[in-house]
């Protein structure tokens, strides 16, 4: 196809898409170009500044090389991907398109039928919509905004423009640039000063297929003294026929505010999962990431906390589960820019069946951030001889008056632990999953109950498949 016909096609589909968004299909052709990026922006009827932002980001993306460190990304063919698909078209898969093993897993972990279809990108909505509407009313009464990013851009243009891309600029890394150029979907959350949101905001409830997009963009803004817990993803495997997921999550925690962001993701094992997540925490604020990574082919994800005000606290809890053919390169970053700031990074990884997990972390203390403290703990559990675990910690400390701790352990599932549990009548698979679940318990206990339950079931299932 020539460039000209491609563009003609694009314009045609764009026109159709624009006039009849409910029924028509809008999908950009394979590959990336200025035209494609413009088409996405126009299709979504975006303001000029966002269009320009996307174009600039595309240039940065083209200039930047792939990271020279971390997992092997040479398998990504940027020209073979579709970068935008109208969300209304995502439902056009049928249940039969979903791979049998994924359907089977849903059944085994007991996900309700309607929910399964949603997770597989087949269904559109299900019964939780009613619950969602009730909660929505509560939030609105408090002045809390919780909408899709695309909606936010139209409904709250000033807020979005002021903060979008300020914590993670497109120049941060190649995948942040890519996301900035082609993003769609994701959430926008605004919590007014002093408001405590008692029930976790769950992306899960905000049911629409765009939520599961490849390049979603999330921005959370917690004003002074407010608090919110945002939960996204789910531990059941998410089937995606798209092979690249590059999301960006930016969070701003103002003075004395508190934000916790919990993610459990379990992409199907064809997916490159390359996500940039960062939280800017002001004076006496608290920012917490709880980040669980299962599935995917390769994950590279290092949720970061930038401690920008005196006494700010940051915490990263990272959990990685690497099965056969998977490489989980995960960890966390803490950047101390102000005095008396505190960070904790806890990483737990489990590798089995030849899977590989790496801890990659950075603690940076800037000059003047005196009296700061950081503690890093990474533990790896290997279930067999084939699996692998590495740690790559980096500390950059430019301030003498700090306290820094680091503990790391690698353990194999011990013969004595197995023998002990089996001597009580537990099968090898039962014993192994108990040991694994015990190992990750410090992180699982921080999860909302339904996620913890699903995660346990899922891990038991992986054990049965690999041991039995």
């Amino acid at each position: 196809m020539t460039g000209a016909t491609r563009l003609a096609d694009l314009k045609k589909s764009y026109r159709l898409g624009f006039h009849q968004p409910e029924s028509a299909v809008f999908k950009t052709p394979k590959g990336l170009s200025r035209d494609i990026v413009s088409a996405i922006s126009h299709h979504k009827d975006e303001p000029e500044w966002m269009h320009d932002f996307r174009q600039q980001s595309l240039m940065i993306f083209e200039q930047k090389s792939l990271p020279a460190w971390g997992a092997d990304l040479s398998g990504i063919d940027f020209n073979s991907l579709h970068y935008y698909l109208d969300p209304s078209d995502r439902r056009s898969h049928t249940w039969n398109d979903v791979p049998a093993e994924i359907r089977d897993t849903y059944e085994k972990i007991g996900i309700p039928e309607a929910e399964r279809r949603f997770l597989a990108g087949v269904g559109a909505q299900y019964d939780s919509e009613i619950i969602y509407h009730d909660l929505k009313k509560q939030w609105e009464d408090q002045g809390v905004i919780f909408v899709g990013m695309d909606t936010a851009l139209k409904a709250y243009p000033d807020l979005v423009r002021r903060y979008f891309g300020t914590v993670i600029p497109p120049s941060d890394n190649k995948f942040a640039a890519l996301n900035s150029a082609v993003w769609s979907g994701g959430s926008f959350v605004y919590v007014p000063a002093g408001v405590q949101v008692s029930i976790p905001l769950q992306a899960y409830f905000r049911i629409n297929a765009a939520n599961l997009g490849q390049f979603e963009r999330t921005l959370i803004l917690a004003e002074e003294g407010s608090s919110v817990h945002y939960v996204e993803g789910c531990s059941a495997p998410i089937y995606s026929s798209d092979s690249l997921h590059a999301a960006v999550v930016e969070i701003i925690v103002k003075k004395g505010a508190r934000v916790r962001y919990t993610t459990i993701q379990n992409w199907s094992n064809n997916v490159y999962n390359l996500v940039t997540k960062r939280m800017l925490v002001e004076e006496e604020g608290v920012g917490e990431w709880i980040d669980g990574n299962l599935g995917s082919k390769i994950t590279m994800k290092y949720p970061s906390v930038i401690l920008n005000g005196k006494g700010a606290k940051g915490e990263v809890l990272s959990l990685a589960f690497a099965g056969p053919g998977q490489h989980q390169d995960a960890g966390g970053k803490a950047i101390h820019l102000a005095p008396y700031t505190t960070s904790t990074i806890t990483s737990k990884s489990v590798s089995l069946g030849g899977g590989r997990s790496s801890y990659r972390g950075m603690v940076k203390v800037a000059k003047g951030a005196h009296g700061s403290k950081s503690f890093v703990r990474c533990d790896a559990l290997l279930l067999d001889q084939l699996s692998r675990s590495d740690t790559y910690p980096v500390n950059i400390i430019n301030e003498p008056d700090v306290s820094l701790g680091h503990e790391a352990s690698v353990s194999k599932v011990g013969e004595n632990q197995l023998f002990y549990l089996r001597s009580r009548g537990l099968s090898e698979a039962q014993a192994t999953s108990l040991i694994v679940n015990g190992f990750i318990e410090p992180i699982v206990k921080e999860l909302p109950l339904e996620y913890a339950v699903e995660l346990n079931r899922l891990i038991n299932l992986s054990m049965e498949n690999s041991v039995g």
Partner: protein, 243 residues
């Protein structure tokens, strides 16, 4: 078929070929208490581990029958399911695994979580457990005495047909020993019990029906309960030198 745990001419070695059990024969009937005594290094703990099939040992001869079923080659968990229990000399810590959750999974009798917790807490009280054991991780951070009590608590809840207790008394103070002994002696139904001990201290509380002296992987002497008293006076030397 006679109900018994029958060990017949059992021989075992370590994986690198060091012979430890040199042909042990022993028959334990339900309700009987057999004390197996012997000096350090005589193979007492190995006997306990081999009975449950520890992967560090290889059986090179003989048989183990549980109520007539040959379990010599069965996986550890199947032996346990048939009703064999091992009280560990050094109970293993399994971090993050809740004690009650683990034990409920292991228990044959499926009680409701609440009833089960009550059962645990009652038994824990008898053993004078200071803290709420249900909410703790399996043996994690337990003191030496708590670990021993944990084994007896499990024994008491799991109700096996036969139990091998490997030095349940070592490292315990007098009070802990008393609680453990009392809990064992009221087990219902009372299992066939192999009580492995280095000292006869616990035998003051739990009177054995039979005593076997194990030296260098062989039972060199068997007798009634009074054999233990004899050892208390003379020590093992008489048996080790008579070889």
């Amino acid at each position: 078929m006679s109900k018994s745990l029958t060990i017949f001419n059992l021989k075992a070695e370590t994986l690198d070929g060091k012979s430890i059990l040199q042909g042990i024969s022993l028959t334990v009937k339900p309700g009987e208490i057999h004390a197996v005594m012997g000096p350090n290094g005589s193979g007492k703990s190995t006997l306990a581990q081999v009975l449950l099939g520890h992967p560090e040992y290889r059986v090179t001869g003989g048989r183990i029958l549980l109520d007539g079923v040959n379990i010599t080659k069965l996986p550890t968990d199947q032996r346990a399911k048939l009703g064999l229990f091992l009280g560990f000399q050094y109970p293993v810590e399994v971090p993050g695994v809740s004690f009650s959750q683990f034990l409920r999974l292991a228990a044959k009798e499926k009680l409701s979580p609440l009833t089960f917790r009550q059962l645990i807490s009652e038994t824990a009280k008898k053993l004078a457990f200071n803290s709420d054991i249900s909410s703790r991780s399996l043996n994690e951070g337990f003191s030496g005495g708590e670990k021993k009590k944990s084994e007896i608590l499990q024994l008491s809840v799991l109700k096996p047909k036969y139990a091998v207790l490997d030095e349940p008394d070592s490292g315990l103070d007098v009070d802990a020993l008393k609680y453990i002994a009392e809990t064992i002696s009221v087990l219902k139904p009372f299992p066939g019990l192999i009580l492995i001990t280095h000292y006869q201290r616990i035998l003051h509380y739990i009177k054995p029906d039979y005593v076997h002296i194990l030296v260098s992987g062989r039972i060199v002497k068997s007798g009634r309960g009074d054999l233990a008293d004899q050892i208390e006076k003379t020590g093992y030397e008489k048996f080790t030198s008579s070889k």
